[in-house]
């Protein structure tokens, strides 16, 4: 792929972020990891991304809150929510607030990649 996808991955589970970053990089994506809400927002202010993958539950901030800020900063960037099953309701709420879609953890990487590509294509 000529243009690799620039992706912002936000999750406070360090182990999860690290392995997912590696796997996505292997699939020709440029992954920037953020381990907290504030870090994610700061990163987004400095850099542009094609897509963001956002966990719904972070230690410092609520995923929906971050989503709203993302949408304010870069309204055009699609956001895919990641959630444990219990907060599916919240994920749906996120979709209502402008998220592109959501996936429940643990999910197939192929599903995630497909969703990302879908989001990027729709954006472009």
């Amino acid at each position: 792929m000529p243009n690799s996808v620039k992706l912002l991955l936000v999750d406070d589970e360090v182990g999860f972020v690290d392995v997912l970053s590696k796997r996505l990089s292997k699939r020709n994506m440029v992954v920037t990891a953020a381990y907290s809400g504030t870090e994610a927002i700061q990163t987004l202010r400095k850099q542009d991304f094609d897509v963001a993958v956002l966990d719904l539950k972070l230690e410092d901030m609520d995923g929906i809150e971050i989503l709203k800020i993302f949408k304010k900063l870069v309204p055009t960037m699609p956001v895919i929510m990641l959630t444990g099953h219990g907060s599916e309701q919240a994920a749906r709420e996120g979709v209502a607030s402008g998220a592109f879609d959501y996936l429940t953890k643990p999910s197939d990487l192929e599903d995630l990649v497909a969703k990302i590509m879908q989001a990027v294509k729709r954006e472009k």
Binding site: E13, G84, H85, P106
Partner: protein, 565 residues
């Protein structure tokens, strides 16, 4: 709930006793007060009436007897004064005088006699041969010589018959002489004998020595004391009528009504047994005692029945409350377990996700050439795949747990009943497996979706399936959950091959708190909650059971027209 009557615990027994005693006391006090007040007043006024009646009776007779004596005395005095010694000492004249007296007064006067100052009878008219009789030594003669006249006590005298004498003294030429008349005892006796009241009331006259002056109706010895020798206690006897009640030697209570006669020489005594005089009172007393006893017994019976019934209700209410408390505690426990489980499930998702991703990373790396020719590549891949599969399985488990732990949501949603049944069946399968129960869904795929609360419906099927599993826990069996459509309603059957419900219990199974499970195992609320949920939806739930064959619960849910087709 078992219907066998258990013996009451000490708490309920003492409650019953306290209630019974309280009711009895509260009922008895007014009955007793009113009863005794009425009885006392009745007793007093009745007694007064009886006394008044007897006093009047005795007073009347006293006057009558006194009048009789005064009359007869007046007659003799008249004869003595007007006819004179000369005439009267002539026996023929005396005879004719007696005859004329007897004509006027019937045979009251038995005889007449003229006695000179020495006590020698000089003339006699009458049935006895007493012409020459000498009375010097007799009481009446001696008294007559001192007084102007005398009325003697009753005595037998020379003739050996009871009689008494009226003697009037006069003088002729300074010599005293006496005209005496004998009064017929029978005629006098009649005056007293007429006084008869009730069965035991009669009268007699006593003299100062306590001797009978009349023949009493009953032969008896006048008792000692005032009435025997009234003389001794004269102070107590006034001029009028005296009334007293006392116990005689024979142990009987008697009423004595007395009045003094003949210048206080004689005593008219009326005697009647109290029991006889107050017989009406006694009857009233008896009736009131009977009423009191009957009333009392019925109060006691009523009080104990009432309290037993009330305590039964209290006990039932207490038990319901206790079960309710248990249920509340159970619910609270379940809720906290649910929350805990949800939290754990949620937290598990993250590490599982990391594990799955790390396995995926290894897989990614394996695809690089270095390992392509490794002998164990296939094994590695198989293992990684397995990790992935098991990770997904974990996800499914937490998924189920979380969806179950979600709070009961009564909000209506449109959903497929078949999906819900499958979800419940899969939730119950694990438990069923331990009980050797197989759950088979037989679902009609063409069913329309329904409008209901999924969590409530979930509860209904969970309850039914859990009950069926409980029923077959010992011997195992099969549960069939079947859905189909009948006209405008969905019919869902939950059939088991359990031991069945005894006919005696089948009418009560939907009652709240009715359970046949051991204490602490069931709250008796499951089926009644199901019933409430289905009824609220406008549906119906019924049960059909055959002993040793199985039980079928049939749920019918109406389908709204817009969902048809």
């Amino acid at each position: 709930m078992s219907k066998t009557k258990l013996p009451l615990s000490p708490y309920y027994r003492s409650l019953t006793l306290n209630m019974t005693v309280a009711i009895i006391v509260v009922s008895f006090i007014p009955v007793f007060l009113v009863g005794s007040t009425i009885y006392y007043n009745f007793y007093a006024s009745y007694r007064e009436k009886v006394y008044a009646h007897l006093e009047e009776l005795v007073e009347k007779h006293r006057q009558q007897i006194d009048a009789f004596l005064v009359d007869k005395l007046a007659d003799i005095r008249f004869l003595s004064r007007n006819l004179g010694y000369a005439n009267l000492s002539d026996e023929a004249f005396l005879q004719s005088t007696l005859a004329s007296l007897q004509r006027n007064y019937r045979p009251v006067f038995v005889d007449l006699g003229v006695v000179n100052g020495a006590g020698q009878q000089v003339a006699y008219a009458g049935p006895f041969k007493l012409t020459e009789a000498v009375y010097t030594e007799t009481d009446w003669f001696q008294q007559a010589m001192n007084k102007e006249y005398v009325i003697s006590d009753v005595f037998l005298g020379l003739r050996r018959l009871p009689h008494f004498i009226i003697a009037v003294k006069n003088t002729i030429n300074g010599e005293p002489w006496i005209l005496r008349a004998t009064i017929d005892f029978v005629a006098f006796n009649d005056l007293v004998e007429n006084i008869r009241v009730g069965e035991t009331g009669f009268a007699y006259i006593l003299n100062r020595r306590g001797e009978f002056q009349t023949k009493p109706l009953i032969d008896f010895v006048p008792s000692e004391g005032c009435y025997g020798h009234f003389f001794d206690c004269e102070k107590e006897l006034n001029d009028g009528v005296t009334i007293a009640e006392r116990e005689d030697d024979d142990g009987k209570e008697n009423i004595y009504v007395t009045a003094l006669l003949k210048d206080k020489d004689w005593l008219l005594v009326y005697r009647q047994e109290s029991a006889d005089a107050f017989s009406d009172l006694r009857r009233a007393q008896f009736i009131s005692v009977v009423i009191f006893i009957v009333g009392g017994v019925s109060i006691i019976i009523m009080a104990s029945m009432l309290s037993i019934r009330q305590v039964g209700r209290i006990k039932e209410a207490d038990r319901a409350k206790e079960l309710m408390n248990e249920q509340v505690i159970e619910t609270g426990k379940l809720a906290s377990i649910g929350e805990l489980a949800a939290g754990i499930a949620h937290e598990i998702n993250n590490p599982v996700a990391i594990m799955v991703e790390e396995a995926g990373w290894i897989q990614d790396l394996l695809e690089e050439e270095d390992f392509a020719r490794s002998e164990n590549l296939d094994e590695f891949e198989r293992a990684l795949k397995q990790i992935n599969t098991q990770g997904k399985r974990c996800k499914e488990i937490t998924h189920k747990l979380l969806s179950f732990a979600r709070k009961t949501d009564a909000r209506l949603q449109e959903f497929s009943i078949n999906d819900l049944i499958e979800e419940v069946v899969s939730l119950s399968e694990q438990r069923a497996k331990y009980a050797k129960v197989i759950i088979t869904p037989q679902l009609d795929a063409s069913l329309p979706s329904i409008q209901a609360s999924p969590s409530e419906m979930q509860q209904v099927f969970l309850n039914l399936i859990n009950n069926a599993v409980d029923a077959m826990e010992r011997q195992g069996g099969e549960i069939v959950v079947a859905s189909r459509r009948e006209k405008n309603q969905l019919v869902i059957e939950v059939r088991d091959t359990g031991p069945g419900i005894p006919p005696a219990n089948i009418d009560r199974i939907f009652d709240p708190f009715y359970t046949t499970k051991p204490v602490g195992k069931g709250t008796g609320l499951g089926l009644s909650i199901c019933y409430g949920i289905i009824k609220k939806m406008g549906g119906d739930i019924s049960v059909d059971s055959t002993m040793d064959e199985g039980t079928t619960f049939v749920i019918k849910i109406p389908v709204r027209e817009e969902h048809v087709g």
